[in-house]
């Protein structure tokens, strides 16, 4: 059914009450990290040392632990941090309290906040947000609210409200995970991040894509955020009427957003149908008991090799009855993913046991019809019941089935609130239950940060337009082609481009092609263009504006400046002898040449232009364009001939 709906695309998002909110995490482009003075750079080499730690869940005020945190802890998994002598310090391994917050990051995040129309607070408080997976060596991420309010306008004029804009430190990168340990690299931790969360004001996949696209364009346009894979991470919150908020994490590409939203809507609709069906069958929560039975004996003669092999190694086949679930585990909830997968995902993620088998799908996997019947009868299953089994070591099997029961019970409520991981084809899989409120408490190591009003106002005064407005202006006002305008609007040189065009009066197309295409082309030819500064570019166009050089020499100038970044464009012109000569000077120079060559003119008449041109251009190449020279030469030869 789900697949059919995808095919026919007949979903009416308005009537299902779709609500989508976005959470975007973007790394800021700073030299240093947020709370220590290490360089913000990712490492490829093997680490210099490793540190081994354990995370312990902190007791809550009620004298309880968060169950998933406790389970992680009980697994006794070692947490390993990879460190580098030259780019990580004691802060990254939680051996020293934080240093002062990075000033560059504060400035950038204020600029971003203002772009999102956020009211910047004048005192920021650092909070600790708990993470127990080891991704942050302290066990908590330091984060602070920058401001409140704010919105992002869509093309239609609709405003998507900003619920949260915060500045925080990025976490470690996961390098490896095994049964015994999880390995994190400390290069990424501490890179400043801006988190932008929106209210669920978005009501269609298309709007979600547009909003995400605009947010990323707006961030890019500052020129002060990091680019490349993993520097921006988006989470999507999706819910429909009657469903629950589900958070989809790890959306790395904008193209994923629309199918993810659509498939999540379909999933929630399907789960609601399952709920309705269970209600109709009269299922009560109490009927789903953790009444596990060891059914290993049933499979003593089995042809299913995986069971024989596992049992040979000490595993058991443990089963439980899911009352009134017959047929439902096979129901499709996402394109190509059945409800049974949702149940087994949970057992896999939490208990680490793969492969839940349910009687609905049997006979299969070399499990016979007789074995299936034996299973059903051991549990006294009726027609509308189903039995699930798992093959594993007893304790783990028990944990896995407990999770299955929890998931089955949740089916009575329709959609469980979950954090789900984005998969490639627009589907998602269970990651963890959605926490209640974030587990946060004040950071006692840091004083509040005062943000002077003058700083905010200074940044506000320098704020640029929305990139989409800039883009429109480039196309309509400056007549740039759309592709060029699109690229330029978020380019680091956008402001420089506008200043050159407005203040120096240079042809926009020439400036745009120079800063975008010419620079790229020179780079491809091996010119170290990254050494060309904004000042260099400005100087080159200034020379053009003053007609001191011809546009043909821009390549030569840029190439020279890239190799000699200490030079100014003026010096480059001198060194390369590229200065333009005026038409008058050229005329005088040509006249001089002609006087010395009267014989040739008399001899060859107008055809003498050929040999003379060559001689003249030897002197003038790069200082004036050939066309002008040939025009003057022609005029002067004519004059000489007319004079006789």
């Amino acid at each position: 059914m789900v697949s059919e709906m995808v095919e026919s695309d007949r979903l009416d998002y308005g009537s299902v009450g779709l609500k989508v909110g976005l959470e975007i995490h973007q790394q800021l482009f700073t030299r240093g990290k947020l709370f220590c003075r290490c360089p913000a750079e990712l490492r490829k080499e093997d680490p210099d040392s490793r540190v081994v730690r354990f995370m312990r869940p902190t007791l809550s005020e009620m004298g309880e632990f968060d169950p998933t945190a406790l389970m992680e802890f009980k697994k006794g998994k070692r947490i390993v941090y990879e460190i580098y002598d030259d780019t990580t310090c004691l802060y990254e391994i939680d051996e020293i309290p934080p240093f002062e917050v990075d000033e560059e990051a504060v400035n950038i995040v204020i600029e971003i906040a203002l772009l999102f129309n956020v009211e910047v607070l004048d005192e920021w408080h650092i909070s600790r947000k708990q993470y127990l997976d080891g991704s942050v060596p302290t066990g908590f991420q330091r984060t602070m609210i920058v401001g409140t309010g704010g919105f992002l306008p869509l093309r239609s004029g609709k405003k998507i409200r900003v619920s949260l804009l915060s500045l925080e430190e990025d976490a470690c990168r996961e390098i490896d995970e095994s049964e015994e340990e999880i390995v994190w690299r400390t290069d990424r931790i501490g890179i400043p991040l801006v988190e932008i969360g929106t209210y669920p004001d978005i009501s269609s996949p298309e709007e979600a894509v547009e909003a995400a696209h605009r947010i990323s364009r707006l961030l890019r346009a500052t020129g002060r955020v990091r680019k490349g894979l993993g520097t921006i991470r988006q989470d999507i919150n999706v819910s429909i009427e009657g469903g629950r908020r589900v958070e989809v994490k790890g959306v790395q590409r904008l193209e994923w957003i629309a199918p993810l939203v659509r498939n999540e809507v379909l999933r929630q609709l399907a789960l609601l149908e399952i709920r309705d069906e269970l209600e109709q069958r009269g299922l009560k929560v109490e009927e789903l008991t953790v009444d596990f039975k060891d059914v290993t004996d049933i499979f003593s003669e089995t042809k299913a090799k995986f069971i024989r092999k596992a049992v040979g190694k000490g595993a058991v086949v443990l089963g439980v009855k899911l009352s009134k679930f017959a047929g439902l585990l096979g129901k499709e909830v996402q394109p190509g993913r059945r409800f049974g997968k949702e149940v087994s995902d949970r057992a896999r993620v939490i208990a680490g046991v793969g492969g839940i088998i349910h009687t609905d799908e049997l006979p299969a996997y070399s499990i016979s019809e007789d074995e299936k019947q034996a299973l059903l009868s051991v549990f006294g299953a009726r027609d509308d019941d189903c039995v699930i089994v798992v093959v594993s070591e007893l304790e783990r099997a028990r944990m896995a089935l407990e999770e299955c029961i929890i998931r089955a019970r949740e089916a009575l409520g329709g959609v469980p609130p979950e954090t789900r991981r984005a998969l490639l084809e627009g589907n998602t899989e269970f990651e963890r239950p959605l926490g209640g409120g974030a587990r946060m408490y004040p950071d006692t190591d840091t004083p509040p940060i005062s943000i002077p009003e003058e700083l905010v106002e200074k940044i506000r005064a320098e704020l640029s337009d929305y990139p989409w407005i800039r883009e429109e202006r480039y196309v309509k006002g400056l007549k740039l082609p759309e592709t060029l305008a699109y690229e330029l609007a978020v380019h680091d040189y956008a402001i420089l481009f506008e200043n050159i065009v407005n203040e120096l009066g240079i042809d926009p197309m020439l400036v745009a092609t120079t800063v975008l295409q010419k620079m790229k082309a020179l780079g491809r030819d091996g010119v170290p263009v990254d050494r060309i500064t904004r000042d260099h570019l400005w100087q080159v166009f200034e020379l053009l504006a003053e007609n001191r050089v011809a546009k043909e020499v821009v390549d030569d100038l840029l190439t020279h400046l890239a190799s000699n970044p200490g030079d100014t464009a003026n010096i480059a012109v001198e060194k390369l002898k590229l200065e333009t000569v005026s038409v008058e000077k050229v005329r005088i120079f040509i006249k001089g040449i002609l006087e010395r060559n009267l014989n040739i003119i008399k001899e060859r008449g107008e055809k003498s232009i050929g040999p003379l041109m060559g001689e003249i251009m030897k002197e003038l190449r790069g200082k004036i364009d050939g066309k002008t020279v040939s025009r003057i030469l022609r005029e002067e030869i004519k004059a000489v001939l007319e004079q006789g």
């Binding site: 354990f54 995370m55 902190t58 609210i145």
Partner: protein, 476 residues
């Protein structure tokens, strides 16, 4: 403002305080603050002492804290009030006869904590129930009793505190506990460890000091690992000395047991801050495998009160008592301490006035953390001479190098200091020498005896031989 009201407005002063008072709200009030531009709802949090008097801090429903400038506030409405919640776990832990009884004495800092996520408050957890809930591994090791003696930062400890801790420790041991753990702030833990070492005579069981460098409210805290290791050491090890149990390295899995008189806090923030100086640690503890690995043999061994033989022993003791013999397991808290003892760090250009002041104040003894082999600038010598010869003061020389022995015969200045009567303190750590001198001066005024005691190794504070391996900061 009375004390109660002050507490209810924690950290707020000046205008911010007035604003809170005006609207009748206090710390932990649930409020709705209507501002000129926006409305905030949340819980009023305590304010940092260092904060200005212009902001009110609230915790928003999303967990974040924000500071609201009072000039932006139009009104505040109290929606409710509920202080940081505190509910005891209902679990009980019956005494297990097979497990040793261990006492945990608290002196400050938190060995375990709980978090109130609603308010963000950190609440210390200390009762056995709380500790067993927070660190369930402890239940496998021992029966635990806990008692708070002080709640002070370790930098505020004074000789009177060491005396009281020694007395309380002795009391617990003489009641029959099989090990004592002392939870202590790390800053001056090595001073207390030295003091207890000298004060507790005839110690029959382990006394293990423990602390943490990362507060116990954070998931990465070293407190639990240290506490489990300390508990193992107190309950199971045969080291009947005052020791310090803290992380071996920056890695979590192992702790070291340092002899109290040779340990020193060597890093302001690292977990492995405590190092055994100029010697090797006594043992290594792995809280996961519960293994205690001795690194040497020359420590005082536990005097067993083997439970099986308890009855037998009782009879024996009774006989002994009848015979008028001293009971073997009893520890004596001999806590006399001369408070007019000072520790001075010399430096180039130090002025003699510092010593003169101590003379004027009638000090009885000074430990000098001298340079190199045991030197001070020559300019101090006449003053030191006067202190020793006219004021009868005891001056002990140690080295600020921390590693290595005092050798005052090698250079001229050293010889001059020796000549006026400065006592070379072998390779005692300056802090240990200070405690030892105070302890000795609390007992005797006899110059010869003082000198002899200073130079005699009493509790591992002086090592006769200096091992090559002893000069290592990242030990093992």
């Amino acid at each position: 403002m009375d004390k109660k009201e002050e507490d209810s407005l924690q950290g707020y002063r000046g205008e911010a305080q007035k604003t809170l008072q005006k609207y009748g709200v206090k710390v932990w009030s649930e409020v709705k603050i209507t501002g000129k531009k926006r409305i905030f709802e949340g819980i009023v949090l305590p304010r940092s002492e260092l904060g200005d008097d212009k902001h009110i801090v609230i915790k928003l429903p999303n967990g974040y804290d924000i500071g609201i400038n009072i000039k932006d506030i139009e009104t505040i409405e109290e929606k409710g009030y509920e202080p940081a919640a505190y509910k005891l776990p209902e679990k009980t832990f019956p005494k297990d006869e097979k497990k040793p009884n261990v006492t945990l004495l608290g002196t400050g800092g938190t060995v375990a904590a709980r978090l109130d996520y609603r308010t963000g408050a950190v609440i210390p957890a200390f009762t056995p129930q709380e500790l067993f809930t927070a660190v369930p591994e402890l239940t496998d090791i021992c029966n635990l009793e806990t008692r708070t003696i002080y709640e002070i930062f370790s930098e505020n400890m004074k000789p009177e505190h060491w005396q009281k801790i020694a007395e309380e420790t002795a009391k617990e041991i003489n009641k029959g506990t099989e090990g004592v753990i002392i939870a202590h702030g790390t800053d001056t833990m090595h001073y207390t460890a030295s003091a207890l070492t000298f004060m507790l005579k005839n110690l029959p069981v382990p006394v293990v000091m423990v602390g943490s460098q990362r507060s116990s409210d954070r998931p990465s805290s070293d407190a639990a690992t240290n506490l489990i290791s300390a508990t193992l050491t107190a309950a199971k090890s045969d080291i009947a000395e005052v020791t310090i149990c803290m992380h071996e390295t920056t890695n979590d899995p192992t702790c070291l047991i340092h002899r109290g008189t040779r340990a020193r806090k060597m890093h302001s923030s690292r977990r492995d801050t405590f190092r055994t100086i100029d010697d090797t640690p006594l043992a290594k503890v792995n809280p996961l495998t519960k293994q205690i690995t001795p690194l040497r043999k020359d420590y005082n061994k536990r005097k067993k009160t083997n439970k099986k033989k308890k009855e037998e022993k009782k009879k024996e003791e009774k006989k002994k008592e009848e015979r008028g013999e001293e009971e073997g397991r009893e520890v004596i808290a001999d806590t006399a301490f001369e408070e007019k003892t000072a520790l001075i760090y010399t430096y180039p250009g130090i002025k003699k006035e510092i010593i003169e002041h101590l003379i004027d104040q009638n000090y009885k003894g000074i430990v000098i953390a001298g340079t190199g082999l045991g030197h001070t600038p020559e300019t101090l010598i006449p003053t030191l001479e006067r202190a020793i010869q006219q004021q009868n003061m005891t001056i002990v020389m140690t080295t600020q190098c921390l590693w290595g022995h005092i050798k005052m015969n090698v250079y001229d200045t050293g010889r001059k200091l020796l000549k006026i009567g400065v006592i070379p303190g072998a390779n005692m750590l300056p802090e240990t020498a200070y405690i030892k001198l105070g302890h000795i001066l609390g007992h005797t005024q006899n110059k010869e005896e003082i000198k002899k005691l200073i130079q005699t190794n009493i509790a591992g504070e002086i090592t006769k031989r200096e091992k090559h391996k002893a000069y290592q900061i990242l030990q093992n």
